[in-house]
Amino acid sequence: MNALDYSILFGSMLAIALYAIWSTRGSRDLSGYLKGSGQTRWFTIGLSVMATQASAITFLSTPGQGYEDGLGFVQNYFGAPLALILISAVFVPLYRRLKVYTAYEYLGHRFDPKTRLLGAGLFLVQRGLGAGITIYAPAIVLSTVMGWRLDATIVCSGLLVVAYTVAGGCDAVSLTQKYQIGVIFAGMVAAFFVLLSKLPAGLTATDALAVAGGFHKLQAVDFSPSMDRRYTVWSGVLGGMFLALSYFGTDQSQVQRYLSGSSVRESRLGLMFNAVFKIPMQFFILLLGVLIFVFYQFERPPVFFNRAAWSAQVARSSDGRLQALDSAFSEAHAAERAQVEAWVRARHAGDARGEAAAREAAGDAHKRVDLVRAQTRAALDAASPGTKANDSDYVFITFILDQLPHGLIGLLVTAFFAAALSSKAGELNALGSTTTVDIYRHVVRTGASDAHYVTASKVFTALWGFVAIGFALFANLAENLIQAVNILGSIFYGVVLGLFLVAFFLKRVGGTAVFWAAIVAQALVFGLYATLSISYLWYNLIGCAACMAIAVVLQAVLPPSRRGSPATVS
């Protein structure tokens, strides 16, 4: 990065944060601080919901996933439109009618204080753990590639987001997210067009897709009924729907976004915006990775995309093994490139037999390339156990730094930070709100003034920010932990969703039955996770179904609860 890139990065990040602080200055009551001025329009809500979900890892890692595994991951989002329709039709009107600040406050209206605390507690544990990851994950990649100090990257980005989230509350979060997502889209679209311009002359879009398809990168849908496969249409529609229902419908970081709307209409349209654009957005990001794969068929990629880790090991090793692997990779890639070029030539000549033969030869050559990469990862891991052996997170940033002109490099790095800050802000805002409304105001200090709770909310938001920064600084996170936190989300989300679906639809079930049902269902999910090896998306469905079924059974032996509550669906 040069001075132009750095000025784009620091200039835009600081300008967005300072503008948010300036435009949300002045005193506000608790409702204004936690839910915003109530004037937010659907487009801002839509972008805000999208920005909260899409973290920096979405934009850094997903192209790498497309590069390695193709488009299959897009199926994970197939359940989102269905879930968002249900949330729009059922959840939003209930939340708004009861004028709740948090989703868990709704559980208190419908059931009792202990169920409200259980829901809030599950959210705080899960989201509190994830908050550190949101800062750490992009910081480790960017600091490694850029040569920045990891601790300085974490602290600077962490303090910036804490500053404007604490100062401006919900309105500042929505406002910054609108501009941040603009920067993100501009960066991703620019990268896409530069990538297209970098493909070899004479290679048409159809050729590029044919090459990608020849390496099985365009297997976007898989109708296999196997539960062992991580991404299928069925796990995406069913598991993904329950995950999205839980995330968008019950996770305060999202609920807070659409409750800031000026009406039910604005909230609903903001959600429908995401229902329409979520799948194409993920498809586009994955396709970017697939096209980077095609690009690297004609251009030699690094044998290991995390160049910093590679260079450090090369400098340390004295046996020449890594250098030998690098040479073997060059030979294997050159052989593959020759076959791919022959394949494209045969396509252009209309030589079907030649095309089929070259495609098969290219596939065989690619196996050799993959073998050398696997040997390299194994060698790096053996030389330095604990080295992050999966380098797919570094694919996109490597392409950016090697291929994009200055200015656009700055824009893309800004986009990654914007994504990190926008999702972080949503999380902090929600953690502060939930701690204030569901714990502090409800249990610790009842009946205080609005001004007191606004101050408390600012303090809790800042504290959660410092916890996240501390977690990111002192926890030596590796990819396994990042994945573990994602899996942890699926393990908890199903049961939390079960709590809410019982609240909405099972009028006869009371607080005690659902409280114990949630605890038993959570234990069941933990047990199944320890013994089964199925796609983690299924735990959303299992946890939810178990919670609902056990609640019904328990209610049958418990005294009847009050019926016809305004907190249920009529």
């Binding site: 488009l71 897009v74 197939f78 439109p81 269905l82 968002l84 329709i85 729009s88 039709a89 059922v90 009107p93 209930l94 009618r97 897709l209 044919a210 990608a212 398809g213 020849g214 099985h216 365009l218 297997q219 976007a220 849908v221 249409v233 039910v264 209409r265 609903r268 349209l269 429908m272 229902a275 329409v276 799948i279 194409p280 498809f283 305004p566 669906v569 009529s570």
Partner: protein, 44 residues
Amino acid sequence: MRAPSDDDSTGLPWPRSWRGVYGLVLGVFLGWVLLLSLLTRLFP
């Protein structure tokens, strides 16, 4: 109390009802699944 009716106006020129909006969103979703299935089949 009842949740607000799905027939309440969306304020959009089209679709005017929420059922219409949800139908449109479902249609777009099915369209994407169809397009992705075609992509999978065309470039196996």
